[in-house]
């Protein structure tokens, strides 16, 4: 639900395992060609490694070198290199800073609100879509509600700033017609977190329903027929056939979302932040960005980022294992 990552998560959910290596599937040709000698192996496989080379180099530079760079979290950064190794000192500073607990709290509360109020919406949308007879009408609805998923958070924030404008935004015009005074939702610290929730719903309610809809379509039609023979009405069929049929998908996506708990979506928050609301929606990632790239406290920022990366990794791994156990589907 939050962020590009999760859409991709959803896209590649499969029951695939990490493939086993070894010579389990050599073709007849390959068997002839390969002795067990190293030379034969090199002769056979070098073209494939040549083709993979750009990708391998890419992954090494852009994903493994930064892990090395992250050692800065344990250093004191000096203007004139080299940096000095200071062990866990930066983490000590981080954990004794009240701001850090504020951003940690914000992150948890925003993620919690999203799990509570955003996560169920696509399930409901999928259940409703499934009830629509006539592929045309359903198709039109789907094409409309999928669109926001493909817009950037800059665009979405721009749309919401206009929509929530206290002077001429649509929401305040409805509010005023109902007799409420104008509210500046973007600067009100009580409403800004809800703006994050609602804009997340705007962005993903439609698209995220697709996975559930796919799961619903995969339910055996005979179950519905049997339920009808027993005289089940629409709600009974939803309750006793459809929902049980998609529980594994719900469980998988729920667990995967839990794995993202410390993210709370940087790309979203950074576009909804302004000087007034900053404190209420400052999350770990925006904190890292701010103290790292605008204030220049590189070591402290790296330490905060590393903290998030390690806890985040643990959460994703736990959620992967739990999901595999319970539903047979994991993160990859």
């Amino acid at each position: 639900m939050a962020g590009q990552e999760e859409q991709q998560l959803a896209t590649v959910i499969s029951d695939g395992n990490v493939p086993a290596g070894g010579a389990d599937a050599l073709s007849a040709n390959e068997l002839l060609a390969s002795g067990n000698t190293l030379g034969a192996k090199v002769r056979q496989w070098w073209p494939y490694y040549a083709m993979m080379a750009p990708g391998l180099i890419f992954f090494f530079i852009w994903h493994y070198v930064p892990i090395w760079e992250a050692k800065m979290a344990f250093e004191q950064v000096r203007i004139i290199p080299p940096n000095i190794w200071v062990g866990l000192k930066n983490f000590g500073v981080l954990f004794s800073s009240p701001v850090f607990y504020q951003v940690l709290f914000n992150t948890l509360i925003i993620s919690g609100m999203k799990i509570l109020f955003v996560f169920p919406i696509p399930i409901i949308v999928a259940l409703l879509l499934n009830e629509v007879r006539g592929g045309k009408l359903r198709g039109v609805i789907q094409s409309a509600i999928y669109l926001p998923h493909f817009l950037s958070w800059v665009v979405i924030a721009g749309v919401f700033i206009a929509l929530l404008s206290p002077t001429d935004g649509g929401v305040n015009q409805i509010g005023q017609a109902l007799g409420f005074g104008p509210v500046n939702y973007m600067t009100n610290t009580g409403t800004i977190r809800w703006v994050l929730v609602i804009s997340e719903i705007w962005r993903s309610a439609g698209w995220d329903s697709l996975l559930y809809l796919a799961a619903i379509f995969a339910i055996d039609q005979q179950l519905y027929e049997a339920a009808e023979m027993d005289g089940a009405n629409r709600w009974q069929k939803i309750l006793h056939v459809t929902i049980p049929g998609i529980v594994p998908t719900i469980a998988t996506l729920f667990i995967l979302n839990m794995g993202m708990f410390l993210s709370a979506d940087l790309n979203q928050v950074i576009n909804f932040q302004n000087d007034v609301n900053a404190r209420s929606i400052d999350i770990i990632d925006t904190y890292v960005y701010r103290i790292g790239l605008t204030t220049g406290e590189y070591a402290l920022a790296t330490a905060a980022g590393l903290f998030k990366a390690v806890i985040g990794m643990a959460l994703v791994l736990i959620s992967h294992v739990v999901s595999k156990r319970l539903t047979g589907k994991g993160v990859w």
């Binding site: 760079e69 007879r133 697709l210 796919a214 576009n271």
Partner: protein, 299 residues
């Protein structure tokens, strides 16, 4: 779904409620966008009082669009976005396909280790500061290549393509080998043509990803002249930096850009940024939907 020949009045009411709820969601989704569209095409003199609820322009004038599209900052943003996105997509599709092909071969020595090393990158991201220093060390800061190279090969799309390549029938590949094709020829002449629709899907994924990227461009590129459209939009609409679009000289003048309400300019700017996504939206629906549906059904 199922056959419902006899419907009670109650069921008919339920059905109306269901469809109305969904239509309400459609309105909630589209109204804010249509409002901005209407706003951007309204008569400049009528924009000040334009309702946030209306979806029809008040009068008609293309002025906002003409002014924006003739604006050097917008033009440069479009130019930067287009070439940077195109380059990223080409690098991404070829890099991903080449790597996925090798990793999809069952006997490849070291296959399991490479797979695990790729998965590690999904699970562990050391954060934006190490990335920033890497860019700096490589001398890529403030060059478009910092943005183009970042996430040029996505681990997710790599896995999708590996799964696809694994399904290619062995017989086809063996036939090519018997005809004397070397692994390169097999890949370019047999595998790639077979993978056309999978490659199109991946290309679309990358296209949307890179077109919408703003954060990396924002932190890596200092020169405004190098900014992609998303960052230009952000500066104007999110940061409220009118100077970026209106220009310092015009901000207090009554001519041209300044005469048109900032609100309408912002609306037009948002829509210009969405336009390419809208243009390929039919393709997106076709490929993304299919990709996601099949991915889910597989599990």
């Amino acid at each position: 779904m199922a056959t419902q020949s006899r419907r009670t009045p109650m069921e008919a009411v339920e059905y109306v409620l269901i469809v109305s709820t969904l239509l309400l969601l459609v309105v909630f989704t589209l109204q804010p966008l249509l409002n901005l569209l209407a706003l951007s095409f309204s008569e400049p003199s009528k924009i000040a009082g334009f309702s946030g609820l209306s979806i029809l322009p008040d009068g008609f004038s293309p002025d906002v669009w003409l002014l924006l599209l003739q604006h050097p900052n917008v033009q440069r943003g479009i130019f930067n976005s287009v070439w940077m996105t195109a380059t990223s997509v080409i690098i991404g599709v070829f890099g991903t396909a080449l790597m996925a092909w090798g990793m999809s071969r069952p006997g490849l020595p070291g296959r399991r280790i490479i797979f695990i090393l790729v998965l590690v990158t999904i699970v562990f991201e050391p954060g934006i500061i190490p990335d920033y220093f890497l860019m700096k060390r490589m001398g890529l800061l403030n060059t478009p290549w910092s943005v183009i190279m970042y996430k040029a090969i996505s681990a997710w799309y790599l896995i999708i393509l590996i799964r696809f390549f694994e399904e290619i029938p062995k017989e086809l590949l063996e036939a090519a080998e018997l005809d004397g094709a070397n692994p390169f020829q097999t890949f370019f002449l047999v595998v790639l043509p077979l993978a056309k629709s999978a490659l199109a899907t991946i290309a679309l994924f990358y296209l949307v990803l890179h077109w919408n990227e703003f954060f990396r461009a924002m932190i890596y590129l200092n020169d405004q002249s190098k900014w992609p459209l998303q960052v230009v939009l952000r500066q104007f609409v999110i940061e409220g930096d009118k100077i970026a679009i209106v220009g310092a000289a015009n901000a207090n003048n009554n001519i041209g850009l300044a005469q048109i309400n900032i609100r309408a300019l912002k609306a037009g700017m948002i829509l210009i940024t969405i336009l390419p996504i809208l243009a390929i939206y039919p393709l997106i629906l076709k490929f993304f939907t299919k990709g996601t549906m099949s991915g889910a059904l597989k599990g």
